[in-house]
Homo-oligomer: 349 residues x 3
Amino acid sequence: MTYLRNCWYMAAWSGEVTAAPFARHILDEPILMFRKQDGDAVALTDRCPHRFAPLHLGKLDGDRIQCPYHGLKFNAEGRCVFNPQGAGATPAAASLRRYPLLERYGGLWIWMGDPTRADPALLPDYPFLEPGDRYAREQGYMHTKAYYELLSDNILDLGHVDFLHQGSLGCEATARAKPRTRQEGNRIYCDRWMPDARQGPLLNMLFERDEPVDAWIDVVWDPPGLMLLHFGMTDVGSAREGARETLNVHFMTPESERSTHYFWAGCRSFRRDEPGLGDTLRAGVEAAFSLEDKPMIEAQQAMMGDADFWSLKPVLLQGDAAAVLARRTLAKLIEAEQEAASPAAATAQ
Amino acid sequence: MTYLRNCWYMAAWSGEVTAAPFARHILDEPILMFRKQDGDAVALTDRCPHRFAPLHLGKLDGDRIQCPYHGLKFNAEGRCVFNPQGAGATPAAASLRRYPLLERYGGLWIWMGDPTRADPALLPDYPFLEPGDRYAREQGYMHTKAYYELLSDNILDLGHVDFLHQGSLGCEATARAKPRTRQEGNRIYCDRWMPDARQGPLLNMLFERDEPVDAWIDVVWDPPGLMLLHFGMTDVGSAREGARETLNVHFMTPESERSTHYFWAGCRSFRRDEPGLGDTLRAGVEAAFSLEDKPMIEAQQAMMGDADFWSLKPVLLQGDAAAVLARRTLAKLIEAEQEAASPAAATAQ
Amino acid sequence: MTYLRNCWYMAAWSGEVTAAPFARHILDEPILMFRKQDGDAVALTDRCPHRFAPLHLGKLDGDRIQCPYHGLKFNAEGRCVFNPQGAGATPAAASLRRYPLLERYGGLWIWMGDPTRADPALLPDYPFLEPGDRYAREQGYMHTKAYYELLSDNILDLGHVDFLHQGSLGCEATARAKPRTRQEGNRIYCDRWMPDARQGPLLNMLFERDEPVDAWIDVVWDPPGLMLLHFGMTDVGSAREGARETLNVHFMTPESERSTHYFWAGCRSFRRDEPGLGDTLRAGVEAAFSLEDKPMIEAQQAMMGDADFWSLKPVLLQGDAAAVLARRTLAKLIEAEQEAASPAAATAQ
Ligand code: FES
Ligand code: FES
Ligand code: FES
């Protein structure tokens, strides 16, 4: 499996990265993150170019990370600025790869490809995630031992909630709803309309409903694995305008070919300040994912082993359209990136 | 290593499979078993054709298994009979492989090859294993991390009992006995005659002997790894006819190239109803295997690593004749099966 | 990675091997060691030639090891001398590989290559390790999950002590000292002179110093991974002659491509009989290694994965000269050994 490189991946929630070294593998690469004294976060390779010690085991001296093994110090640009060994010359080759890092929407976004192409405008818009008092927000991070496309499939094919999340999120209407899928450029939309049906208990609790309602869940996917969900309910037959709605994001970042960093957040513009509600919602989401989705997706990965997804000839159901489009779009983007990177392509330019 | 496919493998003891989903890997394939409402057991692939979820995590609805992920239901023939997603069409391609399953001798036997060739007559005869009151019976299942041929070797070369099972089954006569080995078709016989010698403590306890006896242990091997042992004792110089004898089976089913499902049973027509005797015997067999055979066979496998058995140039001893014949017979059967399955063979037909 | 075979590797400290079977993997090969009744130690392959059972699970009968599985007995030369199976003939092919084993310097040294070339004179001299009362000695064994060249690098590039062992062995002078490196034949010398500087706490405790001193640490490396360190201190400006000095050895033996048997000893001719001092020193060395070096070297190995060291293009610092020379010398010796072993070379002779 090949990764798309020229795109933004969520590397961490902003609060995860402080003035202490923080390490995470992304796209199989060891990444070191920390905040400089001015508060800006940086991302460098976590591997010392001298003898490959993991730098996150070292200490920060102001904005400089010191290798724990032989004491080389590197500044926030990744340049070696101090060599305690012998005469102390700092070899020019001793520099760390610096990754473009963008802080936006309460998260840190990393660019794993060509740094000259790291355009902040390429990150989709999630304005409701910007700090402010319009929305109350719950968020979290969950590690999963499965390839990230399986996690995207999970969100793009919400027909699973009625079965996997029977007691929490599921009802009988999600699967039954005919998803309307469409693509615009590399963005994929998948909307479900669930008229006159009771929703699941966790949602009913939040929306303060217990009777049949008209509900919708509209998903937007952007490459490589960024998903936005609008979920709302209203009285049967009423207009959607003005109805309560939650905005939810699910951002998938590959750690490796068998594991994923899963970042999620849920925002609501109603019941914002109610004591304890946020904790209840966060616990509900985390329970649903860690007890229901995660074991299923990890079992799915184990069943698939090292086989390519398509080689296993999956049967396609109606609800799979969006997930299949997303997989194909991603494959095309990766193919284009590979071709552009090949020597033949270089010659042709 | 390649498996023989057109033969019966023991998949489970009858009592292991109930009206709840039961999963076991056989020949590296994930198998789901359950009993229908009429009591018949079925074996299906445990992998949902939609997105490869393990079906045994799902629920049975009568004779239909429902996939835990998106709710497809499959009947006992493996056909998809319910699709809760969207308009609910059940795609023809969405079917599960059904494996022929035969219930006999208190066990469930699975056919991993061409279903049209699954002839019950191909299973060897073990009539004493049929329910009835002629025999008292102990049985068990033990998982072992070694290729199944190493477990067959263990039973076919009983010269090991004097060393590995010194305090329980061993005596000094088993190894010394010259095994008489012969082959009839694909069946291999290996008989040991141990005249005028004391047998091991567990056997003496069961046979109520403590003095030297004439004893025999006659082994029959059938492919792929089915073994029947007759063990008996009589007064020195007496006829075998009418003497006490136990009938023991050892059935080996490959889980993978490094692990085996080991099914065993021991039957006796004497001391059938004695309270506690069965428990003592079962505990004795399980202790001998799990404390003595299993660690040795697993250590053997670890020493061999991924190497082919013959490539390691094993030294052959007199007692190895049966095990070597069995290995060669199995290799020939597998080769014949492979050739028959090759395109050239198909053309020639 | 290929191992150098025609050389002595330390297999065990003398005291580790007794009249009971002792097993250790060396260069990926399973080795059985034990002492004969006359006290001499022998090294044989730990794998029975019959069915590959690990012999160290068997029992010694005088100088003969009995296989735990089917009872073959092998004498200390590795020849099969007893076969309890059937008629009892001992097959000529049933012999164990015997490895030349040399007991010297309180250790057992094994020769993994051509036995006709196993010349004791090829083992470097460490006379201070011979039993006697001139030196007090602490020694130990530590297992590490990293290739042994990373452990040799660690000792050959002592510039790391100031960072990795800040609170115990480190000072500010080790890294700063310009190492003088030279090679004589396959032996590499690397001397560091640290004038007028305070040394680290553990060393100051042992040498009973607390003020700035002149100190030196001189390392000698011999293939494949044998290192001798002289460490001493004297008053600033005084002659080295007559000053207190410790003699320390670090012997690295590959267990596998990812793990090492690390043997160390420290000898001192002063404060020899002081109660408790030896325990304090041993605890100090073991804490420094197991809490500081070992996690770093294992992390280094994890960062490198299966990549070849040079393929990762390590940046070279001044202190690396000796380690790089050692790696190159070893590579040349292995290359020469491989060429000599190739059929073309055989023809040419
Ligand atoms: S490994 Fe970082 S300074 Fe040596
Ligand atoms: S994986 Fe079984 S229904 Fe989707
Ligand atoms: S394995 Fe050693 S005697 Fe059989």
